[in-house]
Structure formats: C-alpha cells, structure tokens
C-alpha cells in the first residue's frame, strides 16, 4: 500500500509553532504541548535507566567483579529499577500519548483541567529531581520495592527517594483524575461510551487504577519515611510491628501498577491492529470489557508476590486463582487481536512490527506469569532470574514495544513528519531480536537457580549471562538507531499529511500536527472509531481558528 494519495502537506499554523520560545512551552496549558514535554521527560528517564541497565549487564559478564563492586551493584540496580518503574514505565504512555491524544480522540478542545495538567508535569519533574538527587548523594541500595525492615535500617539515603516517588505519585493521581473527568464530561456529541476509541478505554481504565491505588502507595511511603525519622515501628518486628503489612500495602498498589504499565499498551495495540489489518476489531466489546475486567481484578491479586512470606495456605491458594483470572482477560485480548488480523489486508510497517513483538512477548510473559502464580512452582522460582525474566518480558517486552509502537504510529500526528519506513521496520526487528536474546537466557538462569540481585555468581552460569549481555547490547544499539532516525525525521522528514495511515481513528480527523485548541466546534464523527467496513466517508472538521 502506498502512503497517501495526494502530496501531503503541513498545516501552516499548528500547536508547535502557534507560540514560540521556551517560556511559551513551560507555561502552556495545551494538552498537546504538555504531552510532548512529558514525552521528552520520560525519554530522558528511559535513557538514564537504560545506561544503568547496560552497566548492570556489563558487571554480570564475568562471575567475579567486572566493573563495579557489590555495593555499587546494589545501588545501580536500585537506580535502574526506580527510574524504569516509577519514572518511565508507569507514567510513559498515559502522560505522553494519553495527554496528546485523549482530547483529539473524543473531539474535545483540551483536557478538563488544563492547569492541573501542567501542574502534573511539574510535579513529575520535581519528583524525578528529588529521586535523582538522592542517587547523586551516593545512592540507595533497597531495590525499587523499598522492602522494610531493610529500607528503614539501611544507612543509605532513602528519604529523598521515598519523597520523590511520593511526589511522582501525586502527579499520577492528578493525571488520572483529569483523564477520568475528561472522558466523562468532554466527549463530542455522538461519541457514546460504546463509540470510544479503544485507546481511550485503556487510558480510562488505567486512570481508575491510578486514582484508587496510588494513594495507598503514597501513605505507605509516608509510613516508611516516618519509620526512618521517628522510629514509629509499624513495620519493625523489634517494636512489635509487622513487615508483612508493608508488603501487603505495597503490592496492593504495585500489582495494579503493573497494569498501569500494560493496559495503555494494550490500548495502543488495539488501535494499531485494527488500522494495519484494515479491519474492524474482531470484537470491540470483548476488548472493552476485558479492559474493565483487568482494571478490576488487578486489585485482587497482590498476594501472589508473597507466596513465600509466610502467608496462609488458604490466602496463597486464593491469590493464585485470582491471578489466573487476569490471565484469562489477557488471553481474551490476544485472541481478539489475532482474529482481527486473520484475513485482514495486513500492512507491515514499523508500528505493526512492534504490534507483533508485543503480542508475542505478552503471550510469553503472560504464560510465565501463570507459571509463577502456581504456588508450588513459585517456591522454586521466587527471587530467581525466572521472575526477573517474567516481569521483563511483560514490562520491557510488552509495555516498551507498545511505547515504541505508539511513538511510530503517532509520530506523524504529533510532529507532522514521516520517518524512513525501511529503517523503522529493520530496527524494530533488531530490537525484538535483541530483546529475546537478553531475557530468554534469564528464564533458563532462574530455572537453574541463579538468584536475582547478586553481583557475583558461580562460574557455570556464565555462558547464559554472556548471552544476555550480548542481547542487551543489541537492544541498546537498536534504541540508538531509533533515536537517530526519529531525530532526523523531526527536522527533515517529509510532510506526513493529515492521515498518512488512512486510519479511521478519530484523532486523524484533525490536521497533523493539530492546531492549538484542536477543533473550532465539537466535531461530528460520521462512523465508529475503528470502522473499516465502510470506507470513503471523509467529513469536514472545523478546526480551531
């Protein structure tokens, strides 16, 4: 298929050039600019977390000390985890793409509370700065989960990190609140609930988790902080406290948080599968209700992180079964995507390659999730590289694939330019390959008993570690190429035109890049958001003046 029929053009005035100067960006209330600022911020965090990842892999190249000592290793994996989880994966898709696209996709001129939206960005920056400042002060060695009583006893500087993550949590809550309100109150006439684009549904479900789970995390962080400062003893067995309470409250947030990371990705994939198969989703309703189901059941599974903590057998069994429910909803989605592709006229371009990568990795990672959710099996795998591989498959594999897919799919919308397609496809394949090479060996390592979070290891593990490090290098190289060609495209790419993918998604009805304030008046979308069955209706949309 060719890109666009007529010579694509760029609108003369759009959100990028409507006002100029750094100050106009820093004080903007335009959801698109806020989205772009978030995009830049999370990409920077990804770069930082990625550098640490490479350092960790480098250290693990040989059984003894390679580039850093053990304390440094502990600190490095803590920075890596904290930055990747709290500052990249959790905010990435909702804040960058959600902010940019949500109003466009429901025909609104902005989010419900533009000023709060900007505040959310600054809170994120503040939280990130606090966190990183602590890292510069010498670093923290607790791991991203801050398990008590270690986190309340370690001599490293945990306070600023706790505070930083707390502040980022505020930013998350505000963003979620804003999106929920926007979806409820700002849909253009005719955009009913069952006409919402699937990405909007995904962001909506994610927002609900964010609003209801994050405060619990916030409170727990406050308690840990109080424990450090005032010795309040809630989690300290020596004072009669219970460290398990920390784990319960932490995972009550953090298990749903893994769905904060994956649900938006599922939304991206639902959009892209439909576009690049030129077909309506096999079942819009299944995709919607499984989103709601995952958002709901995600709250009931936290105990599967505590199978070996002395939980009651009944508790373990219950959490095991509830965890499987999530897998069922996920499987429903996977089947729906595959059925959508089946007999579609598939267009293999960069975002679609990431879609394939996503589905494969989600499937594989999800299956390993079911495996570790079996209590007896988890006794063997707990705290080994098997778990590391499981959550990297899901989080790095799936969430990151979705992030890259989103970046490539919406790049023309956001910046009005095209990137070199061939390079995009090639790099996507390289990244998926590098990814599998990095984490597949880790399943094997874990199964053989290699524990997580160790800088040194017995010699017979080395070949698999070398394979993993080699894969990580490929992965890093792939990201570098993406950065280069997207950077180039930003400045020199060909104009994309309004809708280069000929998508039926509502966001493509505005110009690319969209003008400030999106629409002059609420647009009427003449068909459903993924309606590829009846092509050819191209309505006029009144743009903002």
């Amino acid at each position: 298929m060719s890109l666009a029929r007529a010579e694509p053009t760029m609108p003369e005035e759009h959100y990028l050039n409507s006002e100029r100067g750094l100050w106009s960006w820093l004080t903007t209330q335009d959801h698109k600019r806020v989205g772009v600022m978030f995009l830049v911020a999370v990409l920077l965090m990804f770069l930082l977390g990625g550098c640490y990842a490479l350092a960790l892999r480098l250290e693990l190249l040989t059984p003894e000390e390679t580039v850093m000592g053990r304390l440094a290793y502990n600190r490095a994996f803590t920075v890596h985890g904290v930055v990747m989880v709290w500052l990249f994966l959790i905010p990435s898709i909702p804040t960058a793409f959600g902010n940019f696209l949500l109003p466009l996709m429901i025909g609104a001129r902005d989010v419900a509370f533009p000023r709060l939206n900007l505040a959310s960005f600054y809170l994120y920056v503040l939280g990130a700065a606090l966190t990183l400042w602590a890292m510069l002060q010498g670093g923290v060695d607790t791991g991203w989960t801050f398990y008590t009583p270690y986190s309340t006893a370690t001599g490293t500087d945990v306070m600023p990190v706790l505070l930083g993550v707390f502040v980022v949590g505020f930013s998350t809550i505000i963003t979620g609140l804003n999106f929920i309100t926007t979806v409820h109150t700002m849909r253009a006439p005719g955009v009913g609930w069952m006409r919402l684009p699937l990405f909007v549904w995904a962001i909506y479900g994610t927002s609900i988790i964010q609003v209801l789970a994050t405060p619990v995390l916030g409170m727990v962080l406050v308690l840990v902080a109080l424990e450090r400062v005032a010795g309040v003893g809630l989690f300290d067995p020596a004072r009669g406290g219970d460290p398990l309470l920390y784990q319960h409250l932490f995972w009550f947030y953090s298990h749903p948080a893994v769905y904060i990371m994956i649900l938006p990705g599922m939304g991206v994939i639902s959009e892209a599968v439909s576009v690049f198969s030129r077909k309506n989703p096999f079942s819009y309703r299944v995709l919607v209700w499984s989103t709601v189901g995952i958002a709901f059941v995600g709250f009931l599974t936290w105990g599967h992180h505590m199978f070996v903590s002395g939980q009651s057998t009944f508790g373990a069994g219950a959490f095991s079964v509830l965890s499987m429910l999530v897998a069922i909803f996920t499987a429903l989605k996977i089947f729906t995507w595959l059925s959508t592709m089946y007999r579609g006229s598939i267009w293999v371009c960069t975002p679609f390659v990431y879609v394939l990568g996503f589905i494969f990795l989600l499937f594989f990672g999800g299956m390993s999730g079911v495996a570790v959710a079996v209590t007896s099996a988890d006794l063997h795998w707990h705290d080994t590289y098997f778990v590391v591989a499981h959550f990297h498959f899901i989080m790095v594999g799936a969430s990151l694939m979705a992030f890259l897919g989103a970046l490539h799919y919406w790049f023309p919308k956001m910046f009005g330019r095209r990137y070199p397609e061939g390079l995009g496809v090639g790099t996507a394949v390289l990244i998926i390959f590098g990814f599998i090479a990095t984490f597949l060996p880790q399943f094997l390592l874990g199964n053989q008993g290699m524990p997580r979070r160790y800088a040194d290891y017995p010699e017979h593990f080395q070949p698999l570690h070398v394979a993993s490090t080699a894969g990580a290098s490929l992965l890093g190289f792939g990201f570098l190429i993406v950065a280069i060609y997207l950077g180039w495209a930003l400045l020199h790419g060909a104009a994309a035109g309004r809708n280069p993918w000929e998508s039926r998604g509502f966001e493509w009805y505005s110009a690319s890049p969209p003008p400030e304030s999106n629409f002059h008046e609420p647009p009427a979308f003449p068909h459903g958001p993924h309606d590829y069955a009846r092509p050819g209706i191209e309505p006029e949309v009144g743009h903002a003046l």
């Binding site: 533009p114 619990v216 309040v232 809630l234």
Partner: protein, 216 residues
C-alpha cells in the same frame, strides 16, 4: 453538525467546554474522583489499624482509656458544627445571600482552627505523658507489648487528618475572603461547592477516627 458549541453561551473560563454548566459538571466530577482517592489514602491507615487490632486485641481495648475522651468528643462537635456551617453557606450563596455565605464560611474556618487548637492541646498532654510514637514511647501507665503501636497509629492517623484540616482551613479562609469580596454569586459558586465537598470529607474521616481511637 450539532448546534452545540455555537448556540450555548461560552464563558471565558469555559473556553474549551461547551458552556459554563458543562464546566461546573466537570469540576464536580473531578472533585468526586479526588475524594475517592483521598478515601483510599485513609483506607491504608484503617487497614493497618484493623491489622494491629487483630494482632494486639488487649492493647486496642485498653487504649481508649488512655485518651482524653472529653477533648476528643468536644472536637467532634466542633467539626460537625463547622460542616453544618459550610452546608448553610452553600445554601446561602445559592439563594444569593453573599454576605451570609461569606460569614458562615469564615465561621467554619474559625471552628477548624479551634479543632486544631484542641488537638494541639491533646498532643501536648500525650507528649508530657511520654505517649509518643514508636522509639520515643515512654508512657509508664500503659506499657504492655504493642501499646506503642496503638499510640503510633493514633499519632499517624490524627496527624494525617490534621494535615487535611489545615489545608481545609486554608481553603475555607480563601473562599470566605473571596465570597466577601463579591467574587461568587447565585449564578457562579463552583469553588464554594468544591471546598464544601472537601470539608465534609475531612469531617467524615474524623467521624470514623473518633470512635476507633476514643470509644471502642
């Protein structure tokens, strides 16, 4: 094309909405979502309370005997009264009586300060007795294992609540001031309603803390 955006009047503040009514609807919705998130914040604390109550039933039965029930109950009255004042203020502004609304809000804010003062008095008593949280616990009259946890929870729960009261007092004062300035009217008073919703939540949380810590 639906006549929506064009037909209804668009207030400057509602630039990106259809009209002012839609904007107010959104503001209410946003506040409800925020309150839901606040409830989850306190849920973490109530969960901890329940857990330690199960672990140390004796402590939690005796704990209330070491509280100043009079001050606690007085505070309940103070907070409930202020909540009533806020409700009356909103009824007044809806009826267009701006002066009354402003006065009632100011009254509610003063009661909020009264609440904080009484709480401070109580804290001072506890501190004098040595009933401090965790490591600093030195209250000889209540020294069974787990007693310090009871007081830890007491300090944390009422402390977090007091932070909310403080924020609320600030918000009510600003709202009272602006109401007296004449910024709100029967036609436009959304911020008052939002502030009121927040204050009612603060009140409601106390209505749970009070029996748990002082009575049962």
């Amino acid at each position: 094309m639906p006549s929506d955006g064009a037909a209804r009047p668009v207030v400057a503040q509602a630039r990106h909405f259809g009209d002012e009514a839609a904007r107010q609807g959104a503001a209410h919705m946003g506040m409800w979502v925020f309150l839901a998130s606040e409830v989850m914040l306190f849920t973490a604390l109530f969960t901890s309370y329940a857990l330690y109550r199960l672990a140390y039933p004796q402590v939690f039965h005796q704990g209330p005997h070491h509280m100043d029930v009079t001050l606690g109950t007085l505070n309940t009255y103070v907070l409930v009264t202020s909540s009533v004042l806020v409700a009356l203020a909103i009824a007044s502004i809806r009826a267009g009586r701006e002066l009354a609304a402003g006065g009632l809000l100011a009254g509610a804010a003063v009661l909020g300060v009264a609440f904080l003062s009484l709480k401070g008095l109580e804290y001072a008593h506890h501190a004098r007795d040595g009933a401090l949280p965790g490591a600093h616990y030195a209250y000889a009259k209540f020294a069974i294992p787990g007693a310090s946890l009871y007081f830890t929870l007491y300090w944390v729960m009422t402390g977090v609540h007091a932070v909310h009261v403080t924020v609320g007092v600030g918000a009510l004062s600003v709202l009272a001031f602006r109401t007296l300035e004449g910024r709100f009217s029967a036609a436009y008073h959304t911020p008052l309603e939002l502030g009121g919703m927040y204050w009612h939540l603060v009140d409601l949380v106390w209505l749970f803390l009070w029996p748990l810590l002082y009575l049962v």
